[in-house]
Symmetry: C3
């Protein structure tokens, strides 16, 4: 499998085999990610992290990934402190940074930014989120979490919350359709998964159901994937509050569920999951955050050709 020198822009360019290969590579990285094993696989290598909007979790896990493998990280720093404030184009920034580093992690508020960057960069671009566009490393770590904590093949999953604007869930659904997942969508009417995505998923072999509440689905799924609902999406704060209260996981809700049920969340959470849930066997979101490290180690090592 050839990942060397390739850009990682979107999930849609990955076959099931490619995804499986990344997840297997991540599995090899896990002991190093946990600090149980040392590695100098990427010693002398430099990863540039260009975050044109903040995303602490994503940035930190990429940085840790690099450090655990003996490499180093070059940080563009805050935007107002950078050349961009002097009017430099993204293309120019990329063409300079690509001569300082071996790969670039790019986070950008504009859809398509990573694709654009990849056209100018002599080194691999790793898309760490571009606006309403893609965020493939989030999807890969979600898949890895499911693989490690539940199972990918024959998965029954419920996606809960903002399924309209939630970039991560779209990308995750596409990937899960490769594994023939049964997907239940649970969202307020205003934030339903777009019809064309549902059709597309069904065409790809996924089974899709739409439900109104978590209760209806909770005994029938392996994974509950929670997402944040943003207040700003609702003109009426009372309406938001009603919805937020309904699409929320409380200890009560978990009283009679199977022990195998896993709850995921891309974090940060606000009120979607009650803190009491953290102590249950179902809580999986902090592990999920950790799994970002071995997955990103795998990706960086693959595109730099340090792993095959």
């Amino acid at each position: 499998m050839r990942f060397k020198d390739h850009h990682i822009i979107s999930m849609t360019s990955f076959s099931k085999d490619m995804i499986d290969h990344i997840l297997e590579t991540a599995e090899k990285m896990e002991p190093i990610a946990r600090g149980k094993q040392k590695s100098d696989l990427l010693s002398g290598k430099v990863l540039a992290v260009l975050f044109f909007e903040p995303s602490t979790r994503t940035r930190m896990s990429f940085e840790t990934a690099m450090y655990r493998l003996g490499g180093n990280v070059l940080n563009l720093g805050s935007i107002d402190a950078s050349s961009i404030a002097k009017g430099e184009t993204l293309a120019d920034t990329i063409r300079v940074v690509d001569s300082y580093a071996d790969a670039i992690v790019l986070r950008h508020p504009k859809e398509g930014a990573a694709r654009l960057a990849s056209e100018f960069s002599a080194i691999p671009i790793l898309n760490a989120g571009d606006g309403a566009g893609h965020h493939p490393t989030q999807t890969l770590l979600d898949l890895y979490t499911i693989k490690r904590e539940s199972q990918l093949e024959g998965l029954k999953i419920a996606l809960v919350g903002d399924l309209k604007y939630g970039r991560t869930v779209h990308s995750l659904c596409y990937a899960l359709s490769l594994y023939g997942a049964q997907i239940t969508m649970i969202s307020p009417r205003e934030l339903r998964m777009p019809e064309e995505i549902i059709n597309d998923l069904e065409n790809r072999g996924a089974k899709v159901t739409e439900l109104d509440s978590i209760e209806e689905a909770i005994n029938d799924v392996d994974v509950l994937y929670m997402t944040r609902i943003q207040k700003e999406r609702f003109p009426d704060p009372a309406e938001f509050q009603k919805v937020a209260n309904r699409l929320k996981i409380t200890p009560d809700l978990l009283k009679n569920v199977r022990p195998e049920l896993r709850i995921m969340h891309p974090l940060p959470r606000v009120n979607e999951i009650h803190p009491e849930v953290d102590k249950t066997v179902h809580a999986c979101y902090f592990k999920q955050a950790f799994y970002g490290v071995p997955v990103r180690m795998a990706l960086v090592a693959l595109v730099l050709g340090a792993m095959k």
Copy 2:
């Protein structure tokens, strides 16, 4: 002595033996801290630094400590650029970061934050100051400075300045009481050391005297420990000016003192010490800043179990 996997929250949890052990470990670290000797004791290890308020000196000396030992540093970065701005709790931030790193240095404006963090963290928390609470690594570096530049046993020390709000001096006094120090307190009336602390120190075996001016104490002490007096503490700027002028070290004041007298200051100073004093044998505050490095090397190495 077991420090491995322990949190470093406050000085009050340390016995004299524990402090001595940390200071001895710091002494072994000194040649590495000075760059005279190389070490890869912490290679592959990652220290997360979470500064919820700035403290450049403390942060930089922890980072250098890590680099000198071959380790790496993961920086949360500025708060407004982080998940915290999205409403994440400290507990959640800690539970994510603890899976990225091997230990966490935490600086936080709220008293008790380090204690709270330690309840959620699977890895050691090193308290780098929590509001009006504790700042144990500052106290340890103060003690180390006294050990290296004067002597801890039988020490005569004068504390000068804001003894009411100055968190570091409270913590330092407690530690010094373990060594039977004679402590002279010199402060404006408004900023006197709280009565209950003085009583407590005396109960622990320290001898405490209160004086009004540096002149009265200067020929009778081994160490003058200066602190900053904040303008904001005084409703009347003229009153502040009077006090600031009185509790200030000038070259004149040092004309007839013993060569062994040492002047310390946690820095940054504003006007408490005249720049001409820097050249005298008495000036010890820049050395003190440096000593933060071996002390923090010792602490990190101990809690990570790389030293015993």
Copy 3:
């Protein structure tokens, strides 16, 4: 040649032999800078970067230089987050940081800051720009670019744009005069090179001509060195626009030039060079940005005594 423990403050302290030695050392660093070769020449070493104003390119290339040689970087971070906001003097900051690191890169808005810092620092100061003062590492990377992409001896160069306030071009001219360059100055009347600098250059053996347009010079030079013209220099926006349009490189302008012509720019550019020019053999500005890495590797290695 002794660079060990020396400060790098201004180009005027360098002889031609010294410059040649730095450029030769940079040439040895190039394969490491390109990531083709590993090095641990500076392992265990710490470079402090103190940027009192942002300069992303300069900072990032110093950081990469350090990482490629196995060293580490201590970043002061943003100024409002630092002790300086508490009123600390530059001298005090330097005296603390010099005990944390092995060398200091200083960028400061005030002319003379690097010189002042060098008077207080126990470790080498590398001036990365001090206001209207000096920026020697920029000049050295410009010289290195000319050496690698054109030739230093007998060079014909045209400097275009703001030659009055453009600090880098003054410094570059002085250095080029050591190599007997023929220098053509092309600038708007308002931004002409100061008369005393021109006289000085001629006294040092450079040949200086002044022209009004790029067209007049383009067939007679080896290098076109473009600079940014700042809008703020012109009271009348229309006048600025006229000037900016005239002193601009377009693909048309390059139709009949010799293939050997090289175009340089310290970046970031705004509109001085049309993006279509990037694809031509003449474009040299992104290479120039890269060359900052081996040059800064050479400088750091030399002042730390890791190279001779």
